[in-house]
């Protein structure tokens, strides 16, 4: 594995378009459910152990070589809110465009052909990790970390939160990010023998409910 490739893929400056999304943080701030660093921490913790774990599992399974189209179906079934399916595919399309240039591979090309409208971001991430020589656990770390780093960065802008405090929130969640990545990679190892049903499917009701409300708001800073 290349540790530098892992850092690149997790870097917010990697040109994959994630900065336009708050991971549900903007809707939570607008509804008054997140007002400060403590609220951000609880928001991030909830997202990490639900949609973060799900994304990490799917990404790790893709990195382990599971059929991306079967994972696409599993991702759709785990994403009931159409606004979140759309966002996942928009981000997936942008990521795919970037990684096909960065780490070209036949598998990435095949995914682009099979899913011209975009594949789920976590599935693309997994296949990209494979092309970059990363392990399923590495890729699970990226997905788990992204599930909290996006909302933290967005909340700095939304609430004018002290960036050091936001970074402190992420540092405080580091052990849980590791734990979630480990669980996701453990589940991904069982996919070959037991199928995608072993992958986590944990939902967060308020993320789904708020995502649809946010999608129809006229004034917003972030697309999701």
């Amino acid at each position: 594995m290349s540790r530098a490739a892992l850092l690149m893929l997790a870097d917010g400056r990697f040109p994959a378009g994630g900065h336009a999304h708050s991971g549900g943080a903007e809707a939570a701030v607008a509804a008054g459910r997140v007002r400060d660093a403590a609220g951000l921490r609880e928001f991030c913790r909830g997202r990490l152990h639900t949609s973060g774990l799900v994304a990490a599992g799917l990404a790790a399974a893709a990195a382990a070589g599971a059929d991306p189209l079967v994972l696409e179906e599993a991702a759709d079934a785990r994403t009931p809110a159409p606004a979140l399916r759309r966002v996942a595919r928009v981000l997936g399309r942008q990521l795919l465009r970037a990684v096909r240039v960065t780490w070209p591979s036949a598998e990435l090309d095949a995914l682009a052909v099979a899913r011209p409208g975009g594949a789920h971001q976590c599935v693309v991430l997994g296949v990209a990790g494979r092309s970059a020589g990363l392990s399923p656990l590495d890729v699970a770390h990226v997905a788990a970390y992204e599930s909290v780093s996006g909302p933290a960065a967005a909340t700095v802008r939304l609430l004018g939160l002290d960036p050091f405090e936001a970074a402190g929130v992420l540092a405080g969640l580091a052990a849980e990010v590791d734990q979630v990545a480990g669980r996701a990679a453990g589940a991904a190892r069982r996919v070959r023998a037991e199928g995608v049903a072993v992958l986590p499917a944990v939902s967060a009701p308020l993320l789904d409910i708020a995502a649809e409300r946010h999608a129809v708001r006229r004034v917003r800073l972030f697309a999701s």
Partner: protein, 266 residues
């Protein structure tokens, strides 16, 4: 049903229902109660057979292994309800209880699975699962409600998984986990202080022709919030959170009426 005295084991019971089409009517070919599940045949409603599950109230306790299987064969119509809420309680052991539901709906069959809520009492640990296989031409209406704690108490540990396949394709796969030891469960991304969560799923071939529109319900956070969304296949899902079971049911009923008005649905 067997009740074992040794620690670590509890009630193991599987109740079975099988509905078949006979002439214009639906007949209950199998109606087999077991353990805490007493099955009562209610008066049919038109061509729809109706079953009420009685006596589930004081189960499951920690260590129990409970299961209900309902099979609706081709062109049969069945509605299943429960007489009261299912209260998960702390059992003689600290181990989890399991409560598994297995549903199969055959070609042009129809199943309404509408149990009362599961209440997760303080100190309890319940793992619920529901797996439904629905034929492409069949209809399923399924409601799931979870209430976290009885009045004035915190919740126990409750996890559930709902897996629905339609025509062999995965349509919905969702887990929920609430209660102590579940990180973030009460935070702003998950329940934010709400103590009741629920879902109403409608699978119907009519949605393959025209997917439903997204609708939000309950604009006042204190009354709870819900959203009706089209799934990536022939179904809609209502997801709701509310302060209590009464307001949760109101949201699910309201959204269900909207979901039920989709063209081609009866």
């Amino acid at each position: 049903m067997t009740v074992a005295g040794e620690a670590g084991t509890g009630v193991r019971a599987t109740a079975r229902i099988r509905a078949v089409r006979a002439g214009a009517d639906t007949v209950l070919a199998v109606l087999h109660g077991a353990g805490p599940f007493d099955l009562r045949r209610n008066r049919a409603y038109g061509r729809q057979a109706r079953v009420c599950v009685l006596g589930a109230m004081c189960a499951p306790l920690g260590g129990d292994r409970l299961r209900i299987e309902a099979v609706v064969e081709r062109e049969a119509r069945l509605r299943v309800t429960t007489a009261g809420a299912t209260i998960a309680l702390r059992g003689p052991t600290r181990g989890p209880a399991t409560y598994d539901v297995r549903l199969v709906v055959g070609e042009r069959g129809s199943l309404d699975w509408l149990p009362e809520p599961v209440i997760s009492a303080a100190g309890s640990h319940l793992r619920q699962s529901c797996v439904a296989d629905v034929a492409e031409t069949a209809r399923l209406v399924l409601r799931e409600e979870q209430v976290l704690g009885r009045a004035g108490e915190g919740p126990g540990r409750l996890s559930s998984r709902l897996t629905v396949r339609c025509g062999g394709r995965l349509l919905l796969d969702q887990q929920a986990g609430y209660g102590p030891d579940v990180p973030g469960w009460d935070g702003p991304a998950v329940l934010a202080g709400h103590r009741a969560a629920g879902q109403l799923l409608i699978v119907d071939p009519a949605f393959a022709a025209g997917p439903a529109q997204v609708r939000s319900f309950g604009d006042e956070p204190a009354g709870g919030l819900a959203v009706l969304v089209p799934l990536a296949g022939p179904g809609v899902l209502v997801t709701a959170v509310a302060p209590d079971s009464l307001r949760l049911r109101r949201l699910l009923d309201e959204a269900g009426r909207v979901g039920g008005q989709t063209p081609g649905m009866s």
